[in-house]
């Protein structure tokens, strides 16, 4: 199921919400969140929010920033893309 989630993300090119992923995988949103956490822990997904937090600390306009960056966002890492490519190659073979 984790591979299915990773494949869904690696092979698409749009924004997914937790609720649409839950619908696509026929599981609950809670489970999708757990799987996202697992994939992040394993290095296949990366939380973008942490990077933003890091950036803000060195941003000269942080005191007048109109955006608060509160959304949680994850992207597939190169490790994640490599894995899905590898699986696809194996499947083709």
């Amino acid at each position: 199921m984790l591979i299915d989630l990773l494949r869904l993300l690696a092979e698409s090119d749009c924004i997914h919400s937790v609720s649409t992923l839950a619908r696509d995988l026929h599981v609950s949103e809670e489970l999708v969140q757990l799987m996202i956490a697992e994939l992040t822990l394993q290095g296949y997904l990366q939380s973008v929010k942490n990077n933003c937090d890091y950036q803000c600390s060195s941003c000269p306009a942080r005191k007048m920033c109109a955006s608060r960056n509160t959304d949680k966002i994850w992207v597939v890492t190169q490790k994640g893309h490599r894995l899905i490519n590898l699986i696809n190659v194996k499947n083709l073979g």
């Binding site: 199921m1 984790l2 591979i3 299915d4 990773l6 993300l9 690696a10 698409s12 090119d13 749009c14 924004i15 997914h16 919400s17 937790v18 609720s19 992923l21 026929h26 599981v27 609950s28 809670e30 489970l31 969140q33 757990l34 799987m35 996202i36 697992e38 994939l39 394993q42 296949y44 997904l45 973008v48 990077n51 933003c52 950036q55 803000c56 060195s58 941003c59 000269p60 306009a61 942080r62 005191k63 007048m64 920033c65 109109a66 955006s67 608060r68 960056n69 509160t70 959304d71 949680k72 966002i73 994850w74 992207v75 597939v76 190169q78 894995l83 590898l86 699986i87």
Partner: protein
């Protein structure tokens, strides 16, 4: 459910050991305390800093040694607590493990149960907090869950001492039962079974007691570092082959943990009835429109239009009042008061400071409206939907999915937007996003345009401002498409965005947000805009005190031929555009200085409006919207690109775009004989 009463006076005939396992905050300690009462011993696990709690109780003439294992999310050797918990179960072999789970968070808690089942130990599931689950509208079918798991399941409310007797009795019965265990365990994908079997064969007879070979093989495939070290020591001959297999199947962990999630999904699907609570239904209904490919866009444009409507109906009357009732009378009073002061000093205070900084301060109400709306949209959870809707347009541009995030930040301020491009790994994609950021109109740019548009377009100002923003974004898409065709090669990346539930905005949160941003604006006005207003005044005064002979007029007139192509026959407008390079608000400050405050009866916008035709006014607004970003943004572009070449390219690109579009708009109007 019956309440537990300890019976420590009975004389036990036999004894069993029961371990209590569970994730943190599931009520495990409450269960332990309720079951053992005062008969407990607290210490540390040998050689560890983790608390070790044991206790005793007598039930049906059986002495039960209860061990409270540390709270853990899983049984992988990620933490000391996890190692202690699994080592205790493997080495001490308790007769039964009671797994306490939170019924309201069953999916989260069942992961540990999935790992416990792999240890081949008798398990009783203590389904705690069923009252909380019921309050949340969740109904856990205990019998169904029991049948699905094929382990005893006992509903309990530990905090109310309910069901604990049944729980411990179930553990005792299981310990004394002779029936072989056959729980429903998570599966591993069929394609991984051969490798698991091969590893199992390689370690057969070599795994130290009391480790179970099936479990060790599974943990090896999962990449458990502690188990790998153990097997390397215990089976040195087989280790190279095992290692080779593990490196070939490095990703097997995803299949194993994925199998556990599939198992959890099956259990929950079978046993949990989940009526949809109100907020989710409301969110779903609203999202049918807000995230719809067409209606979502209509809503987004509608909201944008509403912002400008609100600006002109709520903020502009206050702006005009501040200008006519505060700053113009103030300039007149100060002018009279300084009648005997040197002329340059009077001019500096009246034209330079009141005319420059004062005028900028008048558009404070516009900023309050912008920040309030932005704060409300974010606090209600709408902004995440806007990002979702805009994703399609990012595809048209061929932009990397991550590029959307910094571009969206640009509406607040271009500086954090440029900084935000750090999330883009690909250098070319990052550079191109940086180039596009200044085409997103920031709050300061929007405030300037909102301030001036009514002077040219009267009641149509809201519509014109709205169209200007749409025009900027359309141009951004077109430039994005062009850049993509040349360099980007259509690379796309998906991402997950957690879209929050809608909720009623909190007035305090929004108030604080608006206040922080307004305070920052006032500080900027107090330092940077005062400085620039003074410099602009100085250059408009020198050398002889006549603005028409000033150094600034010389510069403005030198650029006038270019301005005439856009209908800008007044050099003061060109100078105002140039000073916006320092900060966007300086356009207003400069106009305030150059159009003078003394002895005026109408506001600045009206005075500027009187000098321009609507076509020239529109051209001026277009250039203002597209002009090169402020110097702070350019400094950040230099910092982030680490290249003077790209920084210069950004400035030249935007200068060219703004002038070409500005000239184009005016010439088109002339061709159509509109607003001339």
């Amino acid at each position: 459910m019956t309440e537990l009463k300890q019976n420590s006076s009975a004389h036990p005939r036999n004894s069993i050991t029961v371990a209590l396992a569970g994730q943190p905050n599931v009520g495990k300690s409450t269960v332990f305390n309720m079951l053992t009462g005062l008969n407990q011993h607290v210490g540390n696990w040998p050689g560890k800093t983790v608390e070790f709690k044991t206790g005793e109780l007598v039930l049906n003439e059986t002495l039960i040694h209860l061990v409270d294992l540390p709270g853990t999310y899983s049984l992988t050797a990620n933490s000391e607590e996890e190692r202690i918990a699994r080592d205790f179960i493997i080495r001490e072999k308790p007769d039964v493990v009671i797994a306490i789970v939170n019924a309201a968070l069953l999916e989260r808690n069942l992961y540990l149960v999935a790992e416990l089942l792999a240890l081949d130990v008798p398990i009783v599931l203590g389904l705690n907090m069923i009252d909380v689950a019921n309050q949340q509208g969740l109904r856990v079918e205990v019998n169904v869950l029991e049948a699905a798991l094929r382990v005893p399941v006992v509903p309990i409310i530990a905090s109310k001492n309910q069901g604990l007797m049944e729980l411990i009795e179930a553990a005792q019965n299981l310990a004394e039962s002779q029936v072989p265990l056959a729980p429903n365990r998570p599966d591993i994908r069929p394609e991984r079974r051969p490798v698991l079997e091969e590893i199992r064969t390689l370690i057969t007879g070599q795994v130290p007691q009391p480790y179970h070979e099936d479990w060790v093989a599974l943990k090896l495939l999962e990449g458990d570092s502690e188990v790998m070290e153990m097997v390397e020591r215990a089976a040195p001959k087989a280790w190279p082959r095992i290692q080779a297999l593990l490196s070939q199947h490095e990703d097997a962990i995803l299949d194993i943990t994925g199998g556990r999630y599939e198992w959890i999904a099956r259990m929950v699907r079978a046993a949990v009835v989940r009526p949809r609570p109100g907020p989710i239904v409301l969110t779903d209904r609203l999202d049918r429109i807000a995230t719809h490919p067409f209606w979502g866009l209509v809503l987004l444009l509608g909201i944008l239009g509403m912002v400008f409507w609100l600006t002109y109906h709520a903020a502009m009357p206050i702006v005009e009042w501040l200008d006519s009732a505060i700053f113009i009378p103030l300039a007149n009073v100060v002018s009279i008061a300084l009648a005997n002061a040197p002329l340059w000093f009077s001019s500096l205070v009246v034209d330079g400071l009141i005319g420059g900084v004062g005028t900028v301060l008048t558009f404070l109400p516009i900023l309050i409206v912008f920040f309030t709306v932005l704060g409300i949209l974010e606090d209600t959870g709408y902004l995440a939907r806007a990002a979702y809707v805009m994703d399609r347009f990012m595809h048209w541009m061929g932009l990397h999915g991550r590029s959307f995030l910094p571009l969206f930040l640009g509406f607040g301020c271009n500086i954090p937007a440029v900084m935000g491009t750090r999330i883009i790994e690909d250098r070319r994609a990052r550079l191109l996003t940086i180039l596009l950021v200044p085409l997103v109109p920031c709050t300061a740019r929007l405030a300037v345009v909102s301030f001036l548009t009514p002077a040219f377009f009267g009641t149509g100002a809201a519509l014109v401002t709205w169209l200007l923003v749409i025009g900027n974004l359309t141009l951004l898409v077109l430039v994005g498409i062009a850049i993509n065709r040349l360099l980007f090669k259509g690379a796309h990346t998906a991402f997950i965005m957690e879209i929050p539930l809608y909720h009623v905005p909190n007035a305090r949160t929004i108030g604080l947000y608006v206040w922080q941003n307004i305070l920052a604006f006032l500080k900027k006005a107090g330092v940077l805009i005062v400085l620039i207003s003074t410099i602009v005044w100085a250059f408009s005064w020198l050398p002889d005190g006549n603005v028409n002979n000033s150094l600034l007029a010389g510069l403005g007139r030198w650029l006038e031929p270019l301005g005439r192509l856009m209908g800008l026959n007044d050099w003061r407008l060109i100078v105002a555009l140039l000073t916006s390079f320092v900060a966007k608000e300086n356009t207003i400050a400069t106009l305030g200085v150059l159009y003078g405050m003394g002895e005026q009866s109408v506001g600045l916008a009206a005075r500027v409006g009187a000098t321009l035709t609507p076509a020239a006014g529109l051209s001026f607004l277009v250039v203002q919207m597209l002009f090169i970003p402020c110097v702070a943004t350019i400094a950040v572009i230099k910092q982030e690109t680490a290249s003077w070449k790209w920084t210069a390219f950004s400035v030249v690109l935007l200068l060219a775009i703004s002038l070409i579009v500005g000239v184009g708009v005016y010439q088109l109007a002339a061709l159509l004989n509109w607003g001339m």
